[in-house]
């Protein structure tokens, strides 16, 4: 079976302040429905890798494939479309648009995609919120809810366009034990029930242990 996400010989340099080789000859792939965690010391290049995989960073060497499609070399506009349609991103800091309601936040990526009617999008968004156990927050302003709640809203937003893969950069890094477990369970359920692929950077060994596979990074390389 073809992998969902595939990286071939990824190299990344930072040119300033001094030339710095962050990522060195990275190869790896993720199958459909796989729940993968990335671990490694602080500063080893995990976030840098994730920004490349999520198409936000285009300055790298090597090749990147998502769902069998080559992403390397695409225009910024096309990549925005790829992010919109096929990738769900969850950050460590629960990035929501503070002035808008929770529901609006969840709906935006789907409205941008514009494949469904407004009513259908609203219904889907409420469904996702329901699945994450926060239907009652739908009409609250995004700045008015707690950190754990925000993280679940961000997950709902990442799911709204039924992406191929969810990527997360320490999505539980700011949460307490209980909330962290909660988020893990949601991810686990998605990978099992919906066959969704997940790639999550974490510093939490308990969290990583429970995933299907751990990618250990050290000094810009993957340790087998």
């Amino acid at each position: 079976m073809a992998p969902i996400l595939e990286a071939k010989k990824i190299n990344k340099y930072f040119k300033k302040p001094v030339l710095f080789h962050v990522l060195k000859d990275l190869y790896f792939s993720i199958e459909e429905g796989q729940f993968v965690s990335i671990m490694g010391k602080s500063g080893c290049g995990k976030s840098t890798l994730l920004y490349i995989l999520s198409t936000m960073d285009r300055e790298y060497e090597g090749e990147l494939f998502l769902g069998g499609e080559k992403l390397t070399g695409k225009s910024g506009k096309d990549l925005a479309r790829v992010r919109n349609e096929m990738i769900g991103f969850v950050f460590q800091f629960h990035y929501l648009l503070a002035e808008f309601s929770v529901l609006d936040n969840v709906m935006f990526p789907a409205r941008k995609l514009a494949k469904k009617s407004h009513a259908q999008i609203k219904k889907d968004a409420l469904e996702k919120l329901d699945m994450l156990g926060i239907p009652h927050l739908a009409h609250k302003k995004a700045s008015m809810i707690s950190g754990g709640e925000k993280q679940r809203v961000a997950i709902a937003r990442a799911l709204i366009n039924d992406p191929l893969i969810i990527m997360g950069d320490e999505p539980t890094g700011n949460l307490d034990q209980k909330n962290s477990e909660n988020v893990f369970n949601i991810f686990k359920k998605l990978s099992q029930d919906e066959r969704l692929s997940l790639l999550i950077v974490t510093h939490d060994p308990d969290f990583a242990e429970k995933t299907d596979r751990i990618i250990q990074m050290e000094d810009g390389r993957i340790n087998k």
Binding site: S47, Y51, S54, M56, D57, G76, K77, A80, R81, R83, N84, E85, F89, F91, Q92, F93, Y95, L96, L97, A98, E99, F100, F108, P109, R111, K112, L113, A114, R157, D169
Partner: protein
């Protein structure tokens, strides 16, 4: 595409409302600039119209008369044997030719047939003395066909007492300049005597007073019927000293004047040559209006530029999220351009309302002046064109002000922002 624009507008709307105070201040800057433009434009062009009316409406487009000047061709040049010679004639003087236009009546009927001509009025002007009791004043008498003057040159506007019809009814009526009437303490109904050098004395009845607003006219001139003027001069009905033409299109005057003077061997002065300074005055007033308004809009533009820049700085995170979740750089740019344009549109529309309201107030403010008898409020031009220009102005200037910040937002690298946390 349409749903995308709606989505971007929704985001813009929330952005604007969440910074209501700053947005309002930015919009008020535009309001002020546009309002000032409308007021200045309406007032300045109103004034232009008034001054044009004062001079241009009553000035014939082409004035035909016999100028007293030395002949271009001296007799010696016509003599056989001398026509090709180099002749020097000293101390040439004009011959005492009459002020009459030769063959005036056929000329008038010729001109009336011309399709470019809207109307032709013949006049007889004569140097006279006005006599009332012991006072004897030197002045200029014009014989006119009064109803034609009313029709073509707004003559009625300047009659402050009596009416042009009165002159038509009474062969021996006279319309006296306001300055003259005051100097000689005469009013409508009084009698006045007219004499011209070498002729008799003609008793006339004052049927009206006119005030043109120009002292040098009102202090010396008066109007009588054409026939009366011819009688005073002891001439027949083919004696005409001036012919005034009004054309359909004033722009044709210079060319036509040249043709007439060549064809009929007569002096024909067109309005453009005679009143060149008026065009200049109007142009300068328009220039001032545009300069002031553009300056105000520039200031408003800087306000918008500042506010958007600050706003984008505050909203870095939001921009990064939008980009991370699939909005393109163009989408982000459009959000901020819309934001600027909405400020421009709302501020501009309020500016139109403000400008209109102030214009109405100025239009109703009393404005009385001796020089302009028919005007009693300030002149304001409500030309809808200004309102169109103003709103386009508002949109263009806010677009320009918003463009640079929006470009900056477009280029924001989400990775940098997300890392920055």
């Amino acid at each position: 595409m349409k749903t995308n624009i709606r989505l971007l507008l929704d985001i813009t709307k929330t952005n604007l409302l969440s910074r209501f105070k700053q947005t309002s201040v930015a919009a008020l800057g535009v309001t002020f600039g546009i309002g000032t433009f409308i007021i200045l434009m309406g007032f300045m062009t109103g004034l232009n119209g008034l001054l044009d009316g004062l001079i241009l409406n009553r000035t014939p487009h082409i004035h035909i008369f016999n100028e007293i000047k030395p002949s271009d061709q001296q007799p010696v040049e016509k003599a056989p044997g001398f026509s090709t010679a180099f002749n020097i004639i000293r101390s040439v003087k004009p011959k005492n030719s009459q002020a009459r236009i030769h063959n005036a009546l056929p000329l008038i009927s010729d001109l009336k047939k011309d399709a470019r001509v809207r109307g032709v009025t013949p006049q007889v002007s004569a140097q006279v003395f006005y006599i009332a009791g012991p006072i004897e004043l030197n002045g200029l008498l014009n014989g006119i066909q009064v109803m034609d003057e009313v029709r073509l040159f707004n003559f009625r506007d300047y009659i402050v007492e009596g009416s042009p019809e009165e002159l038509l009814k009474q062969d021996n009526g006279i319309l006296l300049g306001a300055g003259l009437a005051e100097k000689m303490s005469l009013s409508v109904g009084s009698r006045i005597q007219i004499t011209s050098p070498g002729r008799g004395v003609f008793p006339l009845k004052i049927v009206g007073i006119f005030q043109s607003g120009l002292a040098e006219v009102d202090d010396v001139q008066s109007y009588v019927n054409l026939k009366m003027a011819q009688q005073i001069l002891g001439e027949g009905n083919n004696y005409i000293s001036d012919i005034n033409l009004k054309l359909w299109d004033m722009e044709e005057a210079p060319e036509m004047a040249t043709t007439i003077s060549r064809l009929y061997q007569i002096t024909a002065i067109d309005i453009k040559t005679a009143n060149a300074q008026f065009d200049t005055g109007s142009t300068i007033r328009n220039l001032i209006t545009y300069a002031v308004s553009i300056t105000l809009l520039l200031v408003a533009g800087f306000g918008i530029y500042n506010i958007l820049n600050m706003f984008i700085y505050e909203k870095m995170n939001d921009i990064a999220i939008l980009k991370a979740t699939g909005f393109s750089g163009l989408d982000v740019k459009l959000i901020f351009i819309f934001q600027a344009l909405i400020i421009g549109l709302v501020g501009g529309l309020l500016g139109l309302v403000l400008g209109y309201a102030c214009s109405v107030m100025i239009d109703n403010a009393p404005f009385e002046t001796e020089a302009l008898p028919t005007i009693n409020t300030y002149p304001v031009n409500f030309n809808p064109l200004f309102y169109g220009i103003a709103i386009i102005f508002a949109l263009v200037s806010t677009f320009l002000a918003g463009y640079l910040p929006a470009r900056r937002a477009q280029d924001i690298d989400p990775v940098k922002i997300i890392r920055g946390q």
